[in-house]
């Protein structure tokens, strides 16, 4: 895994938490997933290339402070707006006339909802239980085909040198060197 040492600032965490309340379903608070979602966002940002990470971290900052310029915000940053005003601020970005602003809104929303829907409690609400399913079908696979699978896996490393149709190398190089697998 390649992750940078990047961390969201305290202010950025507040912005992300407030934005999560806008973009995630209403049960966001009830499920108590705020910390876990912020952590997911941070990890996701760490895995991005430096330029993209910088652009998105800047977008979070600009999103937070650009709220000051809307009269209805009464000079408060986004994370201190009430839910209705916060939603309106986000909607301005979401349906902006500028494609790049819309793309940023989509990306921020995507990173946050991705973290939200990764939470076990949320998966349970959707009745999505992949681990149970996997454990079950993986066990059945081994019961039914275990023997054959082991045999086929052994064949993967069995010698069978490529003998060119041209006959030029005739597999002779292969014969010169003892096979590690034999």
């Amino acid at each position: 895994m390649i992750l940078a040492d990047f961390r969201l600032s305290r202010r950025a965490r507040k912005t992300v938490a407030a934005l999560a309340r806008v973009v995630c379903p209403e049960d966001f608070d009830a499920l108590g997933v705020e910390g876990a979602v912020i952590e997911e966002v941070e990890l996701t940002l760490r895995s991005f290339p430096p330029l993209v990470r910088f652009a998105l971290a800047s977008a979070i900052w600009i999103f937070e402070w650009s709220a000051l310029f809307y009269p209805a915000s009464f000079m408060r940053p986004f994370s201190r707006l009430d839910p209705a005003r916060g939603e309106r601020h986000f909607r301005r970005w979401w349906s902006s006339g500028l494609l790049s602003i819309r793309q940023l809104a989509k990306t921020l929303k995507g990173m946050i909802t991705m973290g939200y829907y990764e939470q076990a409690a949320v998966k349970a609400c959707l009745e999505f239980h992949p681990d149970r399913w996997i454990a079950d079908v993986a066990r059945r696979r081994l019961e039914a085909f275990g023997e054959e699978i082991r045999r086929k896996e052994a064949e993967v490393i069995a010698p069978d040198p490529l003998v060119p149709a041209s006959g030029l190398s005739k597999g002779t190089l292969a014969r010169k060197k003892p096979h590690a697998a034999t």
């Binding site: 209403e26 895995s47 973290g115 992949p130 399913w133 993986a138 696979r141 054959e148 190398s169």
Partner: protein, 511 residues
Amino acid sequence: MPRPENLFTRDDWTADRALTCDVLVIGSGAGGAVVAAELAEGGLEVIVLEEGGYHPTEEFTTHATAMVRKLYRDGGATLAIGSPPIAFQEGRAVGGSTVINGGMSWRTPERILDRWWREDGVDGVRAKEMGRYFERVEKYISAKHQDPGTTSRDNELLREGAEKMSWKVIPNIRNQLHCAGTNNCAFGCPTGAKRSTLVTYIPRALAFGARLYADCRVERLLREGTRSVGAEGRVIQPNGKPGHRFTVRAKLVVSSAGAIHTPALLGRSGVKSPSGRIGQNLSLHPNVKVLAVFDENVEGWKGVHQAYQVREFQEEGYLFAAVNIPPSILSMATPFYGRELDEIMRDYNRTVIAGMLLEDSVTGRVRVLPGGRPQAFYDLSDFDAHRLVRGTSLLCELLFSAGARRIVLPFEGMADLRGPDDVRKLFERPVHKPGIEVMTVHMMGTCAMGGDPKRHVCDSYGKVYGHEGLYISDASLFPSPIGVNPMETIMALATRNAERILDQGAALKAA
């Protein structure tokens, strides 16, 4: 599971090092792993350098976002700049993109091989000549139809829809050994059933004495005049920063870093092609997805994805398939937030996600940015944009005939479709090209092979024109898009290139 012998990771490096071998292979995906295994078995001393980490089957889980961070390059945040911007994904791990791919294993269509032979002058590439390479690859990756009972309901709905329309639909051939239908292919197969190179050609290469160094990023090729004599780079530390330096000297270098990174590596190393076309000719099978909500419980995650392909429109360049994706990734891609997102996601278990792949008619390019990173550029043509709309309309017809009650489209600002009569709305006003949600996982063609050094970068067997000791063996070689999933073509060409290298093997050994 103990780490295999001959496989080294960053933990094994305590200082800068210099290594030597007969053949250096850069990248361990579909192209690199195959070349490495064939050459190692052929008696050559092989080193594989892989930028990504070593993640065995036991590490693969259903935590999709964590797997993306672990196995995808740049956390999946890779984008071709253009109109529209196209998100693309590549693997970065031992096994390359084969670790995260869907496992579709198709031979190159005959019409494509004929075109490569006729129009690009690629030698020995027609179906009858390629047959034995395909057979060999299929043996190792176990390319077969699924076992009965492993297919998910969303795929059955796709098949039923196609049959109602009397369209050709075929079961997919996949590289799998009794696939259990866990539907986790894109996040690493947790059973090992998917026969990625991680569990086939890599163990084979190692068994025949190849050495693989994971976490090693090649920065540039070492050259003496027009001869490549190795490569140098840095071990990647856990925080992504460069660590120890390495140098590998080799008699022959094979670049298998994929269609984005091979041209970048050549570019960073100052390799010039007489054709001037390194990095040009990027094609990428643009892909769009729709979300179709049904009344019945579909639970598309119970069973393998893409079990079928609708091939009715293959001659026009369209393929359709159903691809279930986990809620986290789906939520990111939907054009909703808040209550609307909640509403659509509550239907997750009643949703079919279906995609269409387009054989594109134009090409883009890969450039090296200052600092050495590659950047892809690709503009969808108006013609292809129109074809994406037409293909989507056909896919929607199919899904409605299968019983869909709502379809969410990949076109920004366009209302959801609520029934078959709505499909014509797709043509009522032109679709705004920058607002089409296009993505891809098939990047190809950026160092095309062919018979003409003025038009192609490599000869028919991957040797770079104008250079000695430098081969390419990955998706970059394709002279044109192939209209089907590319992995098996890459592997078969890699086998063929390895055979050519083995023909010179004795000379190489003696050199």
